[in-house]
Symmetry: C2
Subunit: 344 residues, 2 copies
């Protein structure tokens, strides 16, 4: 199993990318790194091949335009490497928009999928929840939401090993008529779709409470909700630490409690999950956290390898074919031109 890694874009620099690649390679995963050979210092490491590239696309570059124009950019070359069959999946810690554009153009969409979606496993205290779309599609139509539901269910079953995962539609009330028109319509289609375990509408609080296995929304709401949730957890943890600092007895309490909180902290550590997964393409692309440490990089590569090993894409494709998704939602498939829906 070989993974193509974008050798640029880590906020902590080339060292975390190189060390992450080393750790993944030590697990027996082949890694092809597209980046600056000298800075990475990976020559001669077993299982790692560096393909020298000095060009890259940054957060300030226009993603779609840059990906189209700069064929030598590391993320574009990583996608091409997967398309050529040299690697099974790609990983990038760089610009989310550029990674999505490079993957969408380079890896092609699965049949029946109009818009790829970005999914993240939410480290809820109870059980992990797959949440999508968290940023690929700022505006959606009903059939896009339906496709996200099928994509998420297939990934949850194949990679997260959830048996017949329940899927909820995120909106402002449990009743079928609640929310924007495209949500009401998606609710109707999903309610009538065999092949998916549709649990109906869910509300914001049901996401952290892990009421369902897969939560579906548009990329705008998903992005805001994900960042609100991460921010709230961070602020609350900070406020508790602050309280513990202000009072000597509380400080002792905090010290005694702290070791046991390690597992919880690790569960919520973005490095643990590896990153977001772009679903709906013919290969998997992992969008790692720009701020990842080397374990985060290694986990992103491991996640890419695991999704490829369990044939997440093939199983997703089968579910899309088998389920009534094609018959009900995808009838008259008006696939958007490549690049539509991508962030500007």
């Amino acid at each position: 199993m070989t993974i193509a890694l974008d050798g640029f874009g880590a906020e902590q620099g080339f060292d975390v990318l190189a060390e992450g690649a080393r750790r993944a390679a030590a697990d027996g995963i082949g890694v092809r790194v597209f980046g600056p050979q000298r800075s990475l210092g990976l020559d001669g490491v077993d299982g790692i091949e560096v393909i020298p590239t000095s060009e890259w696309i940054g957060n300030d570059d226009d993603p779609v335009h840059s990906v189209r124009e700069r064929k030598e950019a590391s993320v574009v070359r990583a996608a091409a490497d997967v398309a050529e069959g040299n690697a099974a999946a790609m990983v990038s810690l760089g610009s989310t928009g550029a990674t999505m554009a490079a993957a969408t153009f380079g890896l092609k969409r699965l049949k029946g999928v109009q818009r790829p979606a970005l999914a993240v496993p939410i480290p809820s205290p109870k059980k992990p929840v797959l949440f999508l779309d968290v940023g690929a599609n700022v505006e959606v139509r009903a059939q896009h939401l339906v496709q996200f539901a099928f994509l998420g269910a297939a990934f949850s079953a194949a990679v997260m090993e959830v048996h017949e995962p329940t899927v909820g539609l995120l909106t402002v009330g449990e009743e079928a008529g609640k929310g924007r028109p495209e949500i009401v319509e998606a609710h109707r289609i999903l309610s009538e779709s065999p092949g998916i375990n549709f649990a109906g509408n869910i509300e914001g609080g049901d996401l952290p409470a892990a009421k369902v296995d897969v939560v579906v929304t548009d990329g705008f709401t998903g992005n805001v909700a994900l960042k609100v949730m991460e921010g709230a957890a961070k602020e609350l943890a900070g406020a508790i630490s602050e309280v513990a600092r202000q009072n000597p007895i509380a400080a002792v309490g905090g010290m005694l409690l702290k070791p046991s909180l390690g597992g919880l902290r690790k569960k919520f550590d973005p490095d643990t999950t590896g990153g977001a997964i772009l679903l709906g393409l013919r290969s998997i692309a992992i969008v790692g956290h720009g701020a990842s440490g080397s374990e985060g990089v290694a986990n992103a590569i491991r996640l890419a390898a695991r999704t490829s090993k369990v044939d997440a894409v093939g199983r997703t494709s089968a579910l899309l074919r088998e389920g009534h998704a094609e018959r009900s939602a995808l009838a008259g498939d008006d696939a958007a031109p490549a690049g539509e829906g991508l962030p500007r």
Copy 2:
């Protein structure tokens, strides 16, 4: 200062409504309660008048239709009481949709406001943030978002006593072009509007981090984000308690830490804030938490009295007039018919 209270709709029953009214009356606030005289048991309490009503609108009733048809319903009578000048503001713990509909029809909109918005003070650890719209308008246009910005800024200054409050627009990236078309357009209008301290775009994480004083969004995103945030705080607190239970040393730590966390818990307790505030009408309507205890009811009444005392509505109206909102955003005011935008 007299407040009209809907005497139905408290999940904990009539006792919490009656006790909440008693506590507010003890602070010198006049309370006119529209509800079942016998169940409330408030006869002869100083400062409280019970106006007997046996009809009410529940969560399962269609809000707009019920408010139009049932003139004797407690929430409709409370709104009429404010309109007739007997009370300065209204409070209801019942159906949010019915309260919004009763207020919108009964209290009338402020000049220049097309859509009232529901605002909540978010108990961020750092400082309270006013967040709107959290559910009144599932779909918005750019000029609605601009009005929400002015409404929120005026309330923050008048009632929350924030000097020249900063206002942020919630979206998926800091750059001006990020988000849905109506957000990009609202950003442009607000950037050119004197009379408001516009801080530009903010992301989800900036809401719990209290980066600005007022956060503006549409009612769909706001409702989801608010519930995600409340849910995340609850789940995280639960997970920490669970960890503390599982290990004896951690349990001692938790016990020592607990008393100091009381202040934090109180800050996050929904009863502390009193409820959501419907802004943009000629009087204030407070949408209390259905699950409130008696202190929550009292705080909702106190909040209504405070907003009236500082003339929040008059000051909001003045800001809307003074600022360039009218000139830039409200030019060609195409006020929606009453009821449009209200939840179904």
